[in-house]
């Protein structure tokens, strides 16, 4: 019997906490043999490569949409980290970008607008063995979902949060978003935006996030690396991805981003573990836009490691039959005599 990670294959036995699966680490031998892995062939004894993650469905995104690059990078990162489709759960919200889980072969849950982080947190706490990703747009993550963003940063569950930040509400056809820049004209900002945009890096830093990176959908390698680093970080990790929307954002285009971004990794003086540096670099936006790992805090264990109920195994691993032990009920009742 295959030993899945969902607990219900665990023949009623609790598994000790140490038995949790390896934290993904990069590298390792990968085989590219060109076989076509259909769903039937994607069991753990098969070969893990990009085809393993191939979905039978074609994305409905516009040709040229930045979301394609994000999809590819996620797949590539998962393959490189040697994570199988059944070991991952990708939770998204609602929006163009949030359709992503539908376009790869992996467990996915496309939830409601603004709530993927909360759903992801519940899933992670119920089954910490799953590699949980939350993926959604800037409107979803920073607009309507802003409160969960704030609190997930400080809560620090081991979730990788990938934001498809196209600075626009795309699926609803072009209203301004919390990251739209001042002056940007849309149907709901006909006179141009006059609210300060959310700087996700600064807000995440202030809210207590332990890993903050920025990347660009037009730089697939860099993006893949950021996603891998985020997944390897124990705890909440934000990857804010600059994502051109070719249909509705004619300002922040591929070129616009490409002309401005620079990788902080190329700056030897930059110390991403220093919050002060991170604040300064994180708040930089305009002529120059830093990408890369902008902040990384080590040594803070993720939320779930502190949860006392998880010390003896996860909810999905519990043998519920034990709850029918009369001794348990008797003990609980006695407290009321």
């Amino acid at each position: 019997m295959f030993d899945g990670v969902n607990g219900h294959s665990s023949d009623g036995q609790r598994r000790p906490a140490e038995e949790r699966p390896h934290r993904p680490s990069a590298g390792g031998e990968r085989q590219h043999n060109g076989h076509d892995h259909g769903p039937r062939h994607r069991a753990a004894d098969g070969v893990l490569d990009l085809k393993t993650y191939a979905s039978p469905y074609k994305p409905t995104w516009c040709p040229g949409c930045g979301d394609f690059g994000i999809l590819s990078a996620i797949k590539a990162a998962l393959v490189e980290l040697e994570i199988w489709p059944h070991e991952v759960l990708i939770v998204s919200g609602i929006g163009c970008g949030s359709k992503l889980p539908q376009y790869l072969y992996a467990n996915g849950f496309m939830t409601i607008h603004g709530r993927p982080l909360a759903v992801a947190t519940g899933a992670k706490l119920a089954n910490p063995k799953l590699h949980v990703l939350a993926v959604s747009g800037d409107g979803d993550s920073y607009g309507i979902g802003g409160n969960h963003f704030l609190h997930t940063c400080r809560r620090n569950p081991d979730i990788t949060h990938i934001v498809e930040n196209n600075q626009i509400y795309a699926l609803t056809k072009g209203q301004y978003s919390p990251t739209s820049e001042p002056g940007f004209r849309t149907t709901t900002s006909p006179d141009g935006v006059f609210e300060m945009p959310v700087n996700p890096v600064a807000v995440a830093l202030a809210a207590g996030a332990g890993f903050i990176a920025r990347s660009f959908a037009g730089e697939p390698k860099h993006l893949k690396q950021m996603i891998m680093a985020a997944m390897q970080h124990p705890g909440y990790a934000l990857v804010d991805v600059l994502q051109p929307c070719v249909a509705f954002n004619k300002v922040n285009t591929y070129n616009w981003y490409a002309e401005r971004i620079y990788d902080v990794a190329n700056d030897d003086t930059y110390d991403p573990t220093n919050p002060r540096d991170a604040w300064e670099r994180g708040t930089e936006w305009g002529e120059r836009i830093p990408i890369g790992i902008l902040y990384r805090r080590e040594g803070v264990p993720p939320y779930e490691t502190n949860v006392s109920a998880l010390q003896d195994g996860a909810p999905v691993e519990r043998d519920l039959a034990k709850r029918l032990d009369p001794v348990l009920l008797e003990q609980l009742k006695r407290a009321y005599v």
Binding site: S9, Y57, P85, Q102, L320, K333, V337
Partner: protein, 594 residues
């Protein structure tokens, strides 16, 4: 069961009143539990304001020989911590009622005696200061009440040891000393003076073991045996105690318990947990439920089992936060945009709370949909004595429905279809984590494999499939329970917690020459129409008894069956019905002489 509501003539009501912050509820809880330890049945209801200090609070305890189903008017013993207490509660006192108060309050007992009451000015402050400390005045007051009632002191002393044990020997001993002194004082001056009293010789059941728990606590116990493994919530009166109960036992029971940033997060976390396989629950009250309505639709659409407990309070909006109401029935039945399968249970008694605790999780997994448990502040906070065997594992089972077993998962050889069309509408369910059962879910309309669709036929088939689950669930829904004579002139139609006081009203009505019975609904949705119609067939005159303004259940009943009640007794002042109130209002409705 039928006999449960019956009890001999003895029914003694005690009220403890004082300011918020004076320990009214803790005194009440102490006395209640002591009485139960002494073998008496109790039913106790707190009444408090939405503030931390100041303002009149009270706690009403009813004592009976056999189990009772609610508190009861007039009050035979008043323990007054303030002068205001006297003013507020005098109208509710029975003839000859005793009134205990600290002699320092400088109440003039003369007029009270003239009115036929028995004023008992007790040196409570003095005793507390002398034998312990001033803060122990409540201990003394409770002990004095025991003395006046002729109730033995031992149960209270043992309880003081259990309650204050963790505070150290000194505290325990001081409390005991205060209790003994106050008890001694009361026995000395008032032994045998009260008409109704609780001395062992009068038939109480000392030695038998009774628990005392609230409806919330009974529900928690049910949820534990029902396999609950995940609780997420945002504090909201009167549901907060459920969250706190699990938080306090998180490690011991292995139930992940999360105080979330808001109710939206709370329910979404539970849905995330339910999606991957936890038995997840979200306790809240109406305002929190309002915030959950969007996510409720997600659970319905994605067929995720989740249990939402709405402990109703006085509405609308913030309303009367610490008070009771049954104002959310039609709301929870129709909450969230569009149409989705849901199950709604409304337990009416402590035993039914326990049962709802485990049933809700089974129904949620069996029908892969959200289950809403409707409770209310009255039921949630009322403390009731129960023999230990009132809550047992009889009939309790854990039914995970169409959850694929490990070997079934291993044998899957095709692409797994999470939303496979089936006759029952229930699709074999895998949890994320098995290599043969990788799938996506979406809140958009979708096909069998969970992929978004807008195709007409698929949409219609999926909608039918989801709603078809309710047909199966109908078989699990219980019809109404009938209490009282089958051939009554008047039938009180109840749902949820009004059943207790309504059943207690039956003998009162009988005493006025009205034969009545109670038809009580607990399983609300999918509505067991056939069972309801069968039960309604014999009804001569139906009076809805509801704790809301618009008689929501009566309206619902008409919608589902066409049956129209002949009248309704409604209460929406935030206070629970007493049996006397129901009886009086029913008599008015039926036009009988009072």
């Amino acid at each position: 069961m039928a006999a449960e509501g019956m009890h001999d003539d003895l029914s003694l009501s005690i009220t403890i009143g004082g300011d918020a912050g004076q320990g009214v509820e803790s005194s009440g809880a102490l006395l209640t539990q002591a009485l139960a330890r002494g073998g008496w049945h109790v039913f106790a209801v707190p009444d408090y304001r939405s503030r931390i200090r100041g303002g009149h609070n009270f706690f009403q305890i009813r004592i009976t020989r056999r189990p009772s189903l609610s508190h009861s008017d007039p009050v035979h013993l008043l323990l007054a911590y303030t002068r205001e207490t006297l003013d507020v509660h005098k109208p509710n006192l029975a003839q000859g009622a005793a009134i205990i108060y600290d002699d320092g309050l400088r109440v003039d007992g003369g007029p009270l005696a003239t009115e036929g009451f028995m004023p008992i000015p007790a040196p409570l402050t003095k005793i507390a200061e002398e034998h312990g400390a001033k803060v122990m005045i409540n201990t003394g007051a409770v002990a004095a009440a025991c003395g006046v009632l002729g109730f033995p002191l031992e149960p209270l002393v043992s309880l003081l040891h259990d309650t204050y044990g963790h505070k150290g020997k000194k505290v325990v001993e001081a409390n005991e000393a205060v209790a003994r002194a106050a008890y001694g004082w009361a026995m000395e001056h008032y032994e045998g003076r009260l008409a109704h009293e609780l001395r062992p010789g009068r038939g109480h059941m000392a030695g038998r073991e009774l628990m005392v728990l609230t409806g919330n606590e009974a529900f928690c116990l049910g949820a534990v045996v029902g396999g609950c493994t995940f609780v997420s919530a945002y504090p909201m009166t009167p549901a907060t105690p459920i969250l706190e109960w699990f938080a306090a036992r998180e490690r011991e029971l292995g139930v992940v318990t999360k105080h979330a940033e808001d109710e939206i997060a709370a329910v979404c976390m539970a849905i995330g947990a339910g999606f991957v396989g936890a038995r997840a629950m979200v306790p809240t009250s109406g305002g929190g439920f309002s915030l959950m309505t969007e996510a409720l639709g997600m659970a319905g659409m994605c067929e995720v089992p989740v249990v939402i407990v709405n402990v109703q309070r006085g509405g609308p909006s913030t309303g009367l936060p610490t008070r009771t109401e049954q104002g959310d029935l039609l709301f929870v039945l129709h909450a969230s945009q569009g149409e989705l399968p849901r199950i709604v249970l409304a337990p009416g008694t402590h035993e039914q709370c326990f049962e709802a605790g485990w049933r809700a999780f089974n129904l949620a997994e069996k029908y892969q949909c959200p289950v809403i448990v409707l409770s209310d502040q009255f039921l949630a906070a009322a403390r009731k004595s129960l023999p230990l065997d009132a809550l047992t594992l009889d009939g309790v089972r854990i039914d995970r429905g169409a959850l694929l077993t490990p070997s079934e998962l291993d044998r899957l050889d095709d692409s797994y279809r999470r939303y496979a069309m089936t006759e029952t509408g229930v699709s074999p369910r895998a949890l994320p984590g098995h290599p043969r059962a990788v799938f996506t879910a979406t809140t958009d309309e979708h096909g069998e494999d969970g992929h978004i669709t807008e195709e007409i036929d698929l949409r219609v088939a999926m909608m039918d499939k989801r709603m078809r689950k309710l047909e199966g669930a109908l078989a699990d829904m219980r019809g109404p329970d009938l209490y009282g004579p089958a051939d009554a002139d008047v039938t009180l139609i109840c749902w949820g917690s009004t059943v207790g006081p309504a059943r207690e009203a039956l003998p009162l009505l009988a005493g006025q020459g009205v034969t009545a019975n109670v038809l009580h609904f607990t399983d609300i949705w999918p509505f067991p129409v056939d069972k309801a119609e069968a039960a309604l067939a014999g009804v001569r005159r139906a009076i809805a008894v509801e704790q809301n303004y618009t008689a929501q259940f009566a309206r619902f009943l008409r919608m589902m069956t066409g049956f129209e009640v002949d009248g309704s007794v409604r209460k929406y002042d935030g206070r629970p019905f007493s049996p006397q109130q129901i009886a009086a209002r029913v008599l008015m409705e039926v036009g009988a002489r009072v």
